[in-house]
């Protein structure tokens, strides 16, 4: 008997060998699980939000209306405040640390909370990001003063505001045009998105995440607990095993994109700069008093998660 599972994500669709690594990861996952389960588990992949709106995915999984999704966890921050820890600037500053969460206390606690909300994490994926700017490079927090910046999340916006930036909110399909016209001066996003939005054409500077970064995003491959619990134990084990094995691929690809984005912007004539430990610390210091504080005060779970996460620093 075969079970058919649906995977939804917002990234551009490609093939198993080419394209956005997050789409490739879903395809590799599907292929490997199908193989190991001898066809008992089958998958349909819906890339590019072709099944449902990005923001509806998390809730659909909780209700059992969607089986799997690869999505930045913090997108559900309005629904489940605890998940904002998935994009807490300065809290994760290296791949080493991020990919270590899974087996650390913070990871166990996060998994427990997500389990209560009806979500199972199969693959723990972290990705660094950078800043594209249409004028000067953004290195120190002081650099954003007076600039119109799209932080892309509540937590980053809090930090940018504290640093003196004018925060801009825009749908992602308008980022390019806004950078072009000057409605926006700079944007923070993942390295992969910095490439796929083609912002190098309208940018004069790029701050990469390859040397060190304060912006790390948790975008796991998740599964609806309702769908997971329906499966026999051996199939559950296969899902977990394959998800875990793909983390190495995710890490390698994310780091490759950190370098690739630098090359792309360099080729387009933009000034490419890296961060060092001192600059990362400066951003972290602002984050502590703004985003972290805001998060800690949300509820007891949040405070506990933050404390556990700080242990991994």
């Amino acid at each position: 008997q075969t079970t058919s599972l649906k995977i939804s994500h917002q990234f551009p669709g490609g093939t198993i060998n080419e394209g956005d690594f997050r789409d490739r990861l879903c395809r590799m996952f599907a292929q490997e699980v199908e193989k190991r389960s001898k066809g008992a588990l089958k998958f349909a992949i819906y890339p590019g939000s072709s099944l449902m709106k990005t923001n509806a995915q998390f809730s659909a999984m909780r209700k059992g209306a969607l089986d799997l999704s690869l999505v930045p966890l913090s997108y559900a921050g309005g629904e489940v405040p605890e998940v904002n820890i998935g994009l807490m600037p300065g809290l994760v500053t290296s791949y080493e640390q991020g990919y270590g969460w899974k087996n650390a206390e913070v990871g166990k606690e996060l998994a427990r909370i997500l389990g209560e909300k009806g979500i199972v994490v199969l693959s723990w994926i972290w990705q660094a990001g950078g800043v594209a700017s249409r004028s000067k490079p953004i290195i120190e927090p002081e650099d954003v003063r007076g600039m119109k910046v799209r932080g892309g999340s509540r937590e980053m916006d809090l930090i940018l505001k504290e640093a003196g930036a004018a925060v801009v909110t825009l749908p992602s399909n308008e980022i390019y045009a806004a950078m072009q016209t000057g409605a926006m001066d700079a944007a923070l996003t993942s390295s992969t998105s910095l490439i796929s939005f083609r912002l190098e054409e309208v940018s004069k500077a790029l701050t990469t995440g390859r040397g060190g970064a304060y912006w790390f995003m948790f975008e796991p491959l998740m599964m609806s607990k309702a769908a997971y619990d329906r499966l026999p134990k051996d199939q559950q084990a296969i899902l977990m095993a394959v998800g875990g094995e793909l983390e190495a691929f995710a890490r390698k690809s994310a780091q490759a994109d950190d370098s690739a984005v630098a090359a792309v912007y360099q080729k387009a004539g933009a000034k490419v700069v890296d961060l060092n430990a001192t600059t990362v610390k400066k951003w972290q210091a602002i984050a502590r008093t703004t985003a972290w504080k805001d998060y800690r005060e949300k509820n007891a779970n949040c405070a506990k998660l933050l404390a556990l996460a700080e242990k991994t620093l």
């Binding site: 913090s74 997108y75 309005g78 999340s153 509540r154 916006d157 909110t169």
Partner: protein, 188 residues
């Protein structure tokens, strides 16, 4: 589809023949008028808010980050609060090409069925909107922005608006059943 113009001079909503139904219908019309008035204000205020955000950013260097969400909430409210009013004027367009081809009796059955099914659909949608509203209320859900306004506000407006729409169609369904045949109706 009307696009900022009226194909025919605006008629008031049709009044059912049955006196009780007519009374309920008039009450609903008054509620609809009130919501329409509220929505008119909301529309103008939305335009003002968006204008203000441009002005404040460029002239006073004070960026606003709440204008888009305020606009979204306001316009979601306008849409759902007025959908019952639009239905009372039969303003939700459909493809009516078939009606001229059918004999009057069959056409009457068609109109009844269309309203009945529409009513059931809207009732289902209202019910699911209220559950959504309840979830957002109990969990304290907000949007995921910096401004982070609570989601029960737009969900509530959606639920209330769809409920009014359902009532509106229900009255129209009941009117089909209770209205006297056209030739026996006294002139208004």
């Amino acid at each position: 589809m009307s696009h900022g113009f009226e194909l025919a001079p605006a008629k008031g909503p049709a009044v059912p023949d049955n006196p009780v139904l007519a009374k309920v219908s008039r009450l609903l019309d008054r509620l609809n008028s009130l919501l329409l008035l509220l929505s008119m204000w909301a529309l103008v205020i939305t335009a003002l808010v968006l204008t203000y955000s441009v002005v404040s950013r460029y002239f006073f260097k004070l960026p606003t980050d709440w204008q888009d969400e305020a606009a979204v909430f306001m316009l979601v409210g306008v849409t759902f609060f007025c959908t019952g009013y639009v239905q009372s004027m039969r303003g939700h367009i459909g493809i009516e090409a078939l009606s001229s081809l059918l004999p009057p009796k069959v056409n009457a059955v068609r109109l009844f069925m269309v309203d009945l099914i529409s009513c059931l659909f809207c009732a289902f949608f209202s019910w699911k909107s209220w559950t959504l509203w309840h979830e957002a209320w109990v969990d304290g859900q907000t949007t995921s922005s910096t401004f982070a306004p609570p989601l029960w506000i737009p969900y509530g407006m959606m639920a209330l608006g769809m409920t009014i729409l359902t009532l509106q169609i229900l009255i129209q369904v009941l009117a089909h059943l209770t209205n006297k045949p056209r030739d026996q109706r006294s002139a208004p």
